[in-house]
């Protein structure tokens, strides 16, 4: 309760939380396309490559206004993306190599420029290295408004070209055959991704920013099979991580905001990978287990059926030990028999003996036919 009160009344916390929520919504929404198109690493390269842009923008203008630095970041990020595409097209360097190369080269240039600025431009400019890991506490209202304006515009463009972007992500060749300008759409969507990245750099930093693009979308994919729902969920996960990261770092001493936001996203991804219905690991594990148990039960039932067939009378009772011998593990045979009895397929005739019921015999017969088993004669 105190935290919610703080969130409403504390200016700094409120600003940081709103900023984090904004970058979460925009990063999650647009990151969905990056994840679906297999471009997660492109986001990483763009965010690292933004660093020299930020430094150059400062060196050229002497200003630390958010819009100026964001423009520099966007310019450098876009340039890196274009070089990556160009190198992949024109040379035999593979896409992942080109990505890794541009990421490190641009990041290296950025570090060199930062060091230069720190040594030559005086102490007041040292704040630029906050862009490495982010410095959310420094966010002020105009920063958040800039983020919201740019991010909102990017989301609006995404909605305006919804069906075209869907086609671009799913089947670009088919889109091109319809006459849609897929290359232009690709450039526009990549530009939107750049926007989503640069508005988060001040808060999360160039090193961790790609998590904001990838994590909410990867988590959202676990929960839904619809693109619209995935974009919405990713935005919601991004916002939730942003706010909880901001609040957590405000309430625990020495907890940096940007990394905390990323950790919150990591937690959501972890929960989604484990717990989501259908695609979640727990769900799959439970389904496999259930299938394995059903198979075991059917095996015991079929054994009983085979024994009965051998004796020529369908309701002939047999000792559990015989069934044990036909299978592995007496606990499992016993459990299987009890479950089968519960389902009305077998009944216990004495302490040790079991026989098929009429329903059990019919079920076993159907199973045997389905599995192409010859009844023992």
């Amino acid at each position: 309760m105190d935290l919610i009160y703080e969130l409403i009344t504390n200016y700094t916390l409120r600003t940081v939380a709103l900023g984090a929520a904004t970058l979460g919504v925009v990063g999650g929404g647009l990151g969905t396309y990056a994840v679906l198109r297999g471009q997660s690493l492109l986001g990483d390269a763009i965010s690292h490559a933004a660093l020299p842009g930020i430094a150059l923008a400062f060196l050229l203008t002497g200003s630390k206004a958010p819009l100026v630095l964001m423009l520099g970041a966007a310019g450098a990020g876009t340039l890196a993306a274009l070089i990556i595409l160009g190198v992949t097209d024109a040379t035999r360097v593979k896409y992942d190599s080109a990505l890794a190369l541009m990421l490190s080269v641009f990041f290296g240039i950025g570090l060199v420029l930062l060091t230069y600025i720190q040594h030559h431009a005086g102490a007041s400019q040292a704040g630029l290295d906050a862009f490495l890991f982010g410095q959310a506490a420094a966010l002020v209202e105009t920063d958040v408004l800039t983020m919201a304006g740019l991010g909102g515009a990017a989301l609006l463009v995404m909605l305006a070209f919804w069906k075209e972007f869907k086609l671009l992500a799913f089947d670009p060749d088919f889109g091109a055959s319809l006459g849609l300008p897929m290359r232009t759409l690709d450039v526009v969507l990549t530009t939107l991704l750049v926007v989503a990245i640069v508005i988060g750099l001040q808060t999360v930093g160039v090193v961790l920013m790609s998590a904001v693009i990838i994590a909410p979308a990867a988590a959202a994919r676990q929960w839904t099979d619809r693109l619209g729902a995935m974009v919405g969920l990713a935005a919601a996960f991004g916002a939730a991580s942003g706010v909880s990261g901001a609040v957590l770092s405000a309430s625990v001493a020495n907890l940096p905001t940007g990394p905390t936001i990323v950790l919150c996203m990591g937690a959501i991804v972890g929960l989604s990978l484990l717990g989501a219905p259908n695609r979640g690991l727990l769900w799959q594990w439970w389904r496999d287990r259930r299938n394995a148990r059903r198979l075991r039960h059917e095996t015991v039932l079929l054994d009983l059926y085979a024994l009965a067939a051998k004796h020529g009378e369908i309701d002939h009772a047999h000792a559990e030990s015989v069934l044990d011998a036909m299978n592995a593990g007496s606990d499992r045979t016993h459990n299987a028999l009890r479950q089968l009895a519960e389902d009305g397929l077998v009944t216990q005739t004495s302490n040790t003996h079991w026989r098929l019921t009429e329903a059990g015999a019919a079920h076993a017969k159907a199973l045997a036919e389905e599995r192409n088993l010859q009844p023992a004669s």
């Binding site: 679906l36 297999g38 305006a160 070209f161 919804w162 069906k163 075209e164 869907k166 086609l167 992500a169 799913f170 089947d171 060749d173 088919f174 889109g175 091109a176 055959s177 319809l178 006459g179 849609l180 994919r221 839904t224 099979d225 619809r226 693109l227 729902a229 995935m230």
Partner: protein, 272 residues
């Protein structure tokens, strides 16, 4: 802005597809060399050839998806850009990510995106059209399934339904029978024949030599160059097949002449 494709008259004096001197190269290697091809309106043409013969590239070059080094393509007598709305396309099933978060119905509606135009979302009318197409390929019951949950044959039918809603006069299909079960193969062939009887022209990349005479009325044998093209009876000869695939094909066809085994080996891998 959107013209209903079926309302356009089919120019019977112009072939559905006329290709002249089409050459495509990746770096130094020609993938297609100097292809001339005429596909008369109303024919069902198969394109066969070994792996790497350029079958897919041929379709992509005709549709402008890859840049040809040289050559001219005319569709009903005009460049493709002017005839887009009369052309339907079924890409290879393997060319997309089937784990994409979308439903069968949604994929079929993508066939209408070109006619819809910018900023318009598909609505009730488009859903009805798409459902009718799904019904036509026997997939209506699966309309809301995520596409990963469909079998290979079902996915292929969804792709076919997406092409059907385009209501094109000329269809290009890249291996629509690849990896489908016998029932689906029959169903798809029936649809192709139905389209032909409506006056459509179809150009279909095919991988199974055994079924060429049964399914198609025209065929192009392709191996970087056009080895032969024309009515199946005239050009689907042992000599042409040998020149397309190399030596081993005569054996394959002789076997078919005696009895036509369902699971006869495809000659797709018999690269010379």
């Amino acid at each position: 802005m959107t013209l209903s494709t079926s309302s356009l008259p089919i120019d019977s004096d112009q072939p559905a597809l006329a290709v002249r001197d089409l050459t495509v190269a990746y770096r130094d290697d020609p993938v297609l060399w100097d292809i001339d091809l005429t596909v008369p309106t109303g024919t069902l043409m198969g394109i066969v050839g070994p792996n790497g013969a350029g079958k897919t590239t041929f379709i992509q070059a005709v549709l402008g998806l890859v840049e040809p080094a040289a050559g001219q393509v005319r569709i009903f007598g005009a460049p493709y850009e002017q005839q887009r709305e009369r052309v339907g396309y079924v890409p290879q099933r393997g060319s997309v990510d089937w784990d994409f978060p979308t439903s069968a119905l949604d994929v079929v509606m993508m066939g209408l995106y070109g006619q819809l135009g910018w900023f318009r979302r598909p609505g009730a009318e488009e859903r009805t059209t798409a459902k009718a197409a799904l019904d036509e390929v026997g997939m209506l019951d699966y309309a809301d399934r995520q596409i990963r949950q469909l079998s290979g044959g079902q996915q292929q039918r969804v792709f076919l339904a997406r092409a059907l809603v385009q209501e094109a006069d000329l269809y290009f299909m890249d291996e629509p029978l690849q990896g489908v079960d016998a029932t689906t193969e029959r169903a798809i062939i029936d649809i192709l024949h139905e389209l032909r009887s409506r006056g459509c022209t179809l150009v279909v990349v095919h991988h199974d030599l055994q079924t060429v005479p049964e399914y198609f009325d025209h065929v192009m044998l392709l191996n970087v160059r056009r080895i032969a093209s024309g009515p199946v009876d005239d050009v689907f000869t042992d000599e042409h097949l040998r020149r397309t695939y190399g030596g081993r094909v005569g054996f394959l066809r002789q076997k078919t002449a005696d009895d036509r085994p369902q699971s006869a080996p495809s000659a797709d891998r018999a690269v010379p």
